[in-house]
Symmetry: C2
Subunit: 211 residues, 2 copies
């Protein structure tokens, strides 16, 4: 039994989703659900004692964020295949998860057949994506093409203040800087994001969860 049935665990803070996944997967040959968890910490302590072949992982959890959890899982148990299961339909998010060791990325609007197929693919050691996720990967949007620019501490700080409606003189006064310095940071931000003005930048930053 151990040889031909894979163990699967689910981490999701939504009982409804947990129920749905259990129902969908309970009668699938070759897959045994060994645990369902609503928090990352609960799963991690389970993982210390049990072997898990596949983990279906919701990225947005109450206690830890999915990317960090994925990293932890992979360092504790490198053979566990982590399948991110999420509503986040952003390219950057998918890339980040893969970068941190996830074996695949499934959008929550996945169909049951697709879900099972993806789990099988993951078990055989392949990277796998749901249909929706593949589509997103296929068409890098203009804003996401460059990825999220790396911002310095000061730049983030100033971006926040700008998004709160503060003007350059305001910010300079608040941070005890020359207005000219603030202007320089502003310019660098616009350059880094490759946008025309702050309005466009703040939209992207907000959508990317930066502010």
């Amino acid at each position: 039994m151990l040889t031909d049935s894979a163990t699967l665990a689910i981490v999701d803070d939504h009982p409804i989703v947990l129920e749905g996944l259990q129902r969908l997967l309970s009668n699938v040959k070759g897959i045994t659900i060994s645990g369902c968890f609503t928090t990352g910490t609960a799963f991690m302590s389970f993982l210390k004692e049990n072997k898990v072949d596949v983990l279906l992982l919701d990225i947005t959890l109450p206690d830890v964020n999915g990317i960090d959890l994925c990293k932890e899982v992979k360092s504790l148990s490198p053979d566990t295949h982590v399948l991110a299961l999420s509503n986040h339909a952003e390219r950057s998010m998918i890339l980040q998860m893969i970068q941190h060791g996830a074996t695949g990325y499934l959008l929550k609007n996945i169909s049951s057949e697709e879900l099972i197929a993806c789990i099988r693919e993951a078990l055989s050691g392949m990277i796998t994506f749901s249909k929706g996720a593949r589509e997103i990967m296929a068409r890098p949007s203009v804003t996401e093409l460059k990825g999220i620019p790396q911002l310095t501490r000061r730049e983030k700080e100033i971006l926040h203040l700008i998004s709160d409606g503060k003007t350059t003189p305001d910010i300079a006064a608040q941070l005890n800087l020359s207005p000219l310095t603030v202007e320089t940071h502003r310019k660098n931000l616009i350059q880094k994001f490759q946008v025309k003005n702050m309005a466009a930048l703040i939209k992207i930053a907000a959508q990317q969860g930066l502010i």
Copy 2:
């Protein structure tokens, strides 16, 4: 049977959620699931032929937005109790749904017991919220205190263009308007949102999902 068992329909584009809800509610006394739909239009055509006592409605659907659908449902069938079921944990969203006729608002991290209790409450004609939703309602955040201002079609259009980095002259040219007119809309937007400038406005708009 018609007198003591309430009919319930579910609209959600996530098969997993649909499965979970069906499973959770299938054996509940007094509730009969009469239909599950993944699109708003599919449900609307069902509603024209069938009586639905309670609708569990996911706000984010592929074809129509939940607020509009809720309005449609209530105007076609005022006796249907609409329970919004969503991941949107924003006060403004909850208020908007209630304003448009919803009987309650449930966050998707709701427990099964809570879900059933809420459906029962809705059936008895009461407004109902999940625990999480009640918490959000309890603490109005600073930005959300004023609610989302009602924007006109033109204002939304111009707000979008601004958030794409377009300047007033750009927008005027694109919409065949006087730049002065665009400026007026701009001013009205800033007044409606009670902010100092567009940077602050766009942050709020993005966070509220307006852009």
